[in-house]
């Protein structure tokens, strides 16, 4: 198991390095010189050259990449030339908001989606299963910004139960501000998880070892929740790992609609400004968090399934 974990972490590091390098190259392939954008159309060539030098853009690409990694390892993600603040500081100030939002979104969708999937799989084609199926597909089909806007209109504006915008102050305030964004972010995942768990549970229930366990007198409870669910949950864990990664930048809609600080919004603004240091910094952080999430989900799967431990 330890060998598996170490190998998996090694692989994760390689993925992060490759992804960040690729990203650095891609951003520089996009037309539009950041210095020109920042200084405006009337900048003199001297000013542009000066800014290039300050941002390290005058050096050859490989040197830029290597020095970028060097600085990253020492905790320096560069300086945001617009705000004249260190990028690392800006990111750290918003990361908790995103992590909490993603965490809360996934947590409630797991808490509802998995039991819903199990319930449906144990009563296939019952009316409850059919209703759950229709709802799940509806949840998946609804775009997050639509859910967000309607949730905002109904619960915040019309009913006034929850605050309209912002991140909130203090624990209770933050929690209060978290409810609607987390609902928005997690709703589609309830549907995904319910469908995935239902499908894989039905598949596992049809496997020979389930009949074998029943033939040896194991009660339904043990068969369903220890023998079947443990296998059926594996694809859901994988999907959640990828989902957390996708949500880190995908929560941008929720963050914009509810005017919450967060990584998604930061990337959105940074891209608009062609704010290279900030883009690189945020993408580096989201990529790392993405890889951490998928690595964790793989490790959880390896804990659940001994056969996975021996692969890789």
């Amino acid at each position: 198991m330890l060998v598996y974990v170490l190998k998996r972490i090694g692989l994760a590091l390689v993925i992060i390095i490759l992804a960040v390098t690729l990203l650095y190259l891609m951003i520089h392939a996009v037309p539009g010189d950041p210095a020109t954008v920042m200084l405006g159309p009337r900048a003199t060539p001297e000013l542009i050259a000066q800014l290039h030098q300050r941002m390290g853009l005058d050096k050859p690409l490989p040197v830029q990449i290597i020095s970028f990694f060097g600085r990253v390892l020492s905790g320096d993600l560069g300086t945001d030339v617009f705000q004249e603040k260190p990028v690392a500081g800006i990111i750290i100030s918003v990361v908790p908001y995103t992590l909490i939002l993603v965490g809360a979104g996934i947590a409630w969708s797991l808490a509802l989606g998995i039991p819903l999937g199990v319930f449906s799989a144990l009563r296939p084609d019952s009316w409850i299963d059919k209703v759950a199926g229709i709802l799940s597909v509806a949840f998946i089909a609804m775009p997050a910004f639509v859910v967000g806007l309607y949730a905002l209109l109904l619960f915040a504006v019309t009913l006034g139960w929850f605050p309209v915008i912002g991140g909130g102050e203090g624990f209770a305030g933050q929690l209060h501000h978290l409810v609607l964004p987390a609902f928005t972010v997690g709703l589609g995942w309830v549907g995904y998880l319910a469908r995935i768990v239902r499908a894989s549970m039905l598949e596992v229930l049809a496997e020979n070892h389930v009949r074998h366990a029943r033939a040896h007198g194991l009660p339904q409870r043990v068969v369903h929740y220890q023998y079947v669910l443990r296998i059926a949950i594996l694809p859901a864990v994988t999907i959640v790992g990828i989902g957390i990664g996708a949500m880190l930048s995908g929560v941008v809609f929720a963050e914009i609609i509810f005017a919450r600080p967060g990584l998604g919004k930061l990337i959105f603004v940074a891209v608009q400004q062609r704010n290279f240091p900030l883009i690189m910094g945020t993408v580096l952080v989201t990529t790392t968090l993405f890889v951490v999430a998928t690595t964790l989900s793989d490790i959880v799967n390896a804990l659940l399934d001994p056969r996975i431990r021996e692969r890789l």
Partner: protein
């Protein structure tokens, strides 16, 4: 039929509904399993052997229906038990070994835990259950049993996994053991060893065995009573020597002719086959079920179903010839 049976199946008929058709999988099965005896069930694929077993275990698929009949086990009708009561019969009084050892153990739960889980109903300490698991594993010839408790099924070979399945039934000390082609998925040398384990198990626990197999040689070796099934009916049944030496039903005769051991000994060395196919169980013809493939069929066979006739003590056949 026989005195003091452990299990009595009376007039059992089972149907499946599949795509708006009704498949009459089992029809009017009568079968006794004597205490401490071994009954072999033979027949080609699709003749209802597995349905028969799953009816006894009450593990039939939800689309199946027991149309008539009863199964009485130790003076209780199994069909009248609640699901909870049935759970305490399974793996306790009636235990089962399945055909494919590669898929019958749970892949993500350690072998030790699975051996402990089958003792679910026993209220003894976990230590005791674990010791029983170790003892059973060593008994079926798994070396270093204690260390291997934490191993998972995929870390064992097919033969080893079937031994683990046998170890489970050993722990359970059943009154009746049902073995559904326990050696079909294994190679010939393993087959001999597994049969030996089963004999050993029976000697120790004095359980009755219902043994389902394609392999007539193994049936002749292990069983003292044989049942021949064809297309969901029992066509002939009797004591093993009587049936093998005085086989009556044309289908059973053909089946015995197909035994490879006989073919090798014969001069022709040509593999005999039974011409024709199984009748459509969704649309049964009238008369004898085997009449369309039978070499000695006559007019009556096409119109009247044969009744069961006893030809000698305990040996009965359903055929118009007798």
């Amino acid at each position: 039929m026989l005195s003091d049976p452990v299990l009595q199946i009376r007039n059992l008929s089972v149907e499946f509904s599949a795509r708006k058709r009704t498949i009459r999988a089992l029809r009017n099965i009568d079968l006794d399993i004597p205490r401490g005896g071994t009954v072999g069930v033979v027949g080609e694929s699709g003749c209802g052997k597995s349905t028969l077993i799953l009816s006894i275990m009450r593990l039939l698929a939800p689309n199946s229906k027991i149309v008539s009949g009863d199964i009485v086990f130790e003076d209780r009708s199994l069909f009248e038990l609640t699901e909870r009561e049935m759970q305490s019969v399974r793996g306790n009084e009636i235990s089962m070994i399945f055909q494919d050892p590669l898929t019958s153990l749970n892949p993500v739960i350690s072998v030790g835990q699975q051996l402990i889980d089958v003792q679910y109903r026993d209220s003894v300490a976990k230590k005791v259950k674990q010791q029983r698991a170790i003892d059973a594993l060593s008994q079926v010839g798994i070396p270093d049993a204690e260390a291997r408790l934490s191993s998972f099924p995929h870390q064992f070979s097919g033969g080893m996994r079937q031994r683990i399945a046998i170890a489970m039934t050993m722990i359970e000390e059943p009154i009746l053991l049902i073995a559904d082609e326990p050696t079909t998925a294994l190679d010939a040398t393993l087959e001999v060893q597994i049969i030996r384990e089963l004999k050993e198990l029976q000697k120790q626990s004095r359980c009755s065995i219902l043994f389902v197999s394609h392999h007539l040689g193994v049936v002749a070796d292990l069983c003292d009573y044989v049942v021949v099934m064809y297309a969901g009916e029992i066509v002939e049944q009797g004591p093993v020597r009587d049936l093998f030496y005085n086989v009556r039903h044309p289908y059973a005769q053909k089946l015995l002719e197909c035994d490879p051991a006989r073919i090798v000994r014969s001069a022709e060395k040509k593999f005999p086959t039974i011409p024709g196919d199984l009748p459509d169980l969704g649309n049964l013809p009238g008369g004898c079920i085997f009449s369309n493939r039978c070499h000695s069929a006559f007019d009556k066979c096409e119109t009247h179903s044969p009744r069961r006739t006893e030809v000698s003590t305990g040996h009965s056949v359903s055929c118009h010839l007798y």
